[in-house]
Amino acid sequence: MRLAHWFFSIPLRLRSIFQRDRVEAELQEELRFHFDRRIEQEVAAGKTPEDARREAVRAMDGLEQRKEECRDARRVSLLESVLQDVRYASRGLRKKPGFTIVAALTLALGIGANSAIFSVINAAMLKPLPYPNPNRLILLFESFDAVPNVVSYANFADWERDSHDFSAMSAGRQNTFTLGSSGSVGPERIEGGIYTWALFKTLGVEPILGRTFGPGDDRTGSPRVAVISYALWQQRFGGSPDVVHRQIRLDGVNCDIIGVMPQGFGYPTRDVKVWTPIRALLGDSLAERSWHQLYAVARLGDGITPKAATSEVDGIQRRLHAQFPASEIGTGASGLPLRDITTYESRASLCVLLGAVGCLLLIACVNLANLLIARTSQRQREFSVRAALGAGRSRLIQQLLTESLLLTLVGSAAGLLLGYALTTILGAHASLLIRADDIDTSAPVRMDAAVFGFTVLVSIVTGLAAGLFPAWRFARGELTEGLKEGGRSATSGHRQQRLRTGLISAEVALSLVLLIIACLMIRSFTELRGIRPGVNANDVLTAAVSVPDSRYGAEAVSRFSKTLLERAKALPGVKAAALVNCVPVAGYCGDNGFSIEGRPLPEGQFYNALNRSASPGYWETIGVPLLAGRDFTERDGRGFDPMHPQTSALIISESMAQKWWPDGHALGQKVYFGGEDSPRYQIVGIVGDVLIDLEKTPQPTLYTPQFEGRHSDFYLVLRTEGNPSAYASPIRRIVSGIDPEVPAFRFRTMDEILGHSSQTRAFTAILLGSFATLALVLSAVGLYGVLSYLIAQRTTEIGIRMALGASRSEVFRLALFEGMKPTLAGLAVGILGAVALARMIQSTLFGVKATDPATFLLAPAILLLTALLASLVPIARATNVDPISALRSD
């Protein structure tokens, strides 16, 4: 039955759509026929032709409505009328290009910004980790009085042995290797992962070629093996299938390649290209329980909750702490879902960004709703006429919705394109926003299906929210009002005005919140840039050098260091050169426990300070003042005879001197590392503090002589004449001239390092600043639109007032008040909102309080000024009203 019905109706309906003119003509003819017969009949009954005609019309009972009913009966009700509405709407939008462009652009900006920020959040936080059952993976930490810390190998080994709540666990860390030269390719630094054997088993990822590690690969003295990444397989081995059992040279040692991981796999960061078992690499040196270096990752056993599993490990660690009181080991253990580690630092600022774009979208929505309402009310009369001509209310609402949906569609398409462009830009700077530290499980930031879906969803919601509202208001209104009131009116409905000014207040409030947050972020950035890192950064180049431990002993490292420094100093244009194992403001690098002679601590306890090694002349090169004592000399060091070490020299930072020798007697004191009989280091100098990170306060730091040869990874620091970057290739030549297997890499000027340190804040500040500016512009546009409308509505009233003797200044005040009322209300609400919100984001600020008075004065002032500027034109229009023409205009 239904099928047969469709068989008949579909061709008819298609005909209604595609032969609209013909169908319409037929309807016309059919009714005309009826009409004529009726008139004939009436005339035959003796009426005059006029009366007959009148009677025929009356009998039709509203000809146009009846026609519309016939059309309704024929229509593919939705499709046909939608097509008609779309035609009508697009004509209307084309006729008002200004309105259309502003509205679509508003939407595009709101949607594009949301799409871009969401792409970052999606990549960093939402996308499931690329491992089976990723929610069963947690990180385990050794915690010191509830403060999580990395774990030592020895403690981890006990966790692994004694726990039952896990199906597998592994501990390790990222490690940079020097990949040996092959053929024409020189030595290269690549990221690697050194882990206990069960890493791949824990993550649940299978190799695409060969095998991964077994327990036998990870013992002291095991033959060296490596698993390589897909990327390395392609680059170095051309994707050759016989790569398994070939060899790869890491830090001067040949390793058997046993497997290749699938494309895209990388742990603990995406750029890791090679993995080796940690025990086979580092051997028994791992036995030290206080050697806290490793991140433990574990897979929960079936049916075990993270809480239960963590408390099991906590119990084991507590027992260890009690069992080895002499070691500096954690008092307990704690866990964190693996997925949460990547954004551990940046979660708060990502949320701020998301909130900001959300705010922007709301503003865009309000703005669009306002524009649409304005447009609807301008067309009140048009709708009334159409209603009188037979258009049903639902039909008119449908048309209004079509128009706003069409607008949304255009805006969303533009928003999607903008979002795509912004996502690409953010993708290139993703590390600045995501700020993953040692473990980065984030996916690449790009416009994928999820981001696309989110964008579409946001577009639909926005379109409906902005479009439904005016349509709904319209639906509640009295259609005939337009005809009655549109003619002659001094004022428009109060409800209407209140609604629109309310929307403006909301827009101003949202913009103010956004502006204040942006200002706070920008202030944080400028505060950060104002921090003095303690060095003179001009014309300084740093280059990393890594000497392979496997072939070099301490003495050889020392000899290499001296040779390198001599040759670097001999380069023309080099004013000063030195070596250090850690560049200022570039990170933490490591600390060390020490003891002070004559100040014994209880067994197993040590003092602690940041630990660096430096060559003579380092402080002069980098511009750090020598405050007391002397610099290192070439003779400082404990010598290379382990049986008879000499007393070495030590230089300490100002904050270290103040911490342990506040009375100023640091020089000449002796400290030592390790047991009572360890070699002594005598403090010979005190130097200025340098920061390890612009956002951190100076920490006590000690420097041992680089020429002792105990640090094989270090930096060459050059102060140069002219552009420091120009010295990179001569340095590379010098290093490979000493040993072709030793790479020089990571060339950075000190300026770049400082810039990098504040880059994250700079980027966040730029983003928020742009969002806030956009919000300002949108609010200004909204205010301008509404105010113009209100003034236009009151032209007659103003005319009357002026005719009755109101002066221009009174009209000016009136118009100004009209615009400032909603603005001030919005500012008040906005300030309250911003105070509440700013407190929540205090942790993401630097050097500025959440309730920074300057910001809270400046931002409202900027908004107020913007509002004034936006009202200028409408106000001018109001004061220039000519009373005569205003009264005549209706």
Partner: protein, 111 residues
């Protein structure tokens, strides 16, 4: 009082189908025939006739074709389709049941 009370919902369809079942006709003739056979009691306003016809056509119960009318002018003639006949039977049966029921109620003798 010249007009009948509102036609029962859906009854108009039945009337139109029945009239068209007798012979294909154009709208004007349908309206005249309706008046005629019901002795002027059932009068469908000119206004509501055409939307109803168009609806029936859309349902596939009647079909329309343009033919020359008795006066030599082109007119749109409606005729019943196979589906329309089925529908007519269905609606007639329904109507008879309904009218029997109502008659029975109306004829209830008061005790």
């Amino acid at each position: 009082m010249s007009k009948p009370s509102d036609l029962l919902q859906g009854t108009l369809d039945l009337l139109l189908l029945k009239i068209l079942a007798l012979e294909p006709q154009h709208g004007w003739a349908v309206s005249q025939r309706l008046k005629q056979v019901s002795s002027n009691i059932l009068q469908v306003s000119d206004g509501s006739l055409y939307p109803a016809l168009h609806k029936l056509e859309q349902e596939g119960w009647i079909r329309a074709e343009w033919k020359t009318s008795e006066l030599g002018r082109r007119a749109k003639f409606y005729s019943l389709t196979v589906l329309g006949r089925k529908q007519l039977n269905k609606e007639s049966a329904h109507w008879e049941r309904l009218s029997d029921a109502i008659t029975a109620v109306v004829k209830l003798s008061e005790a």
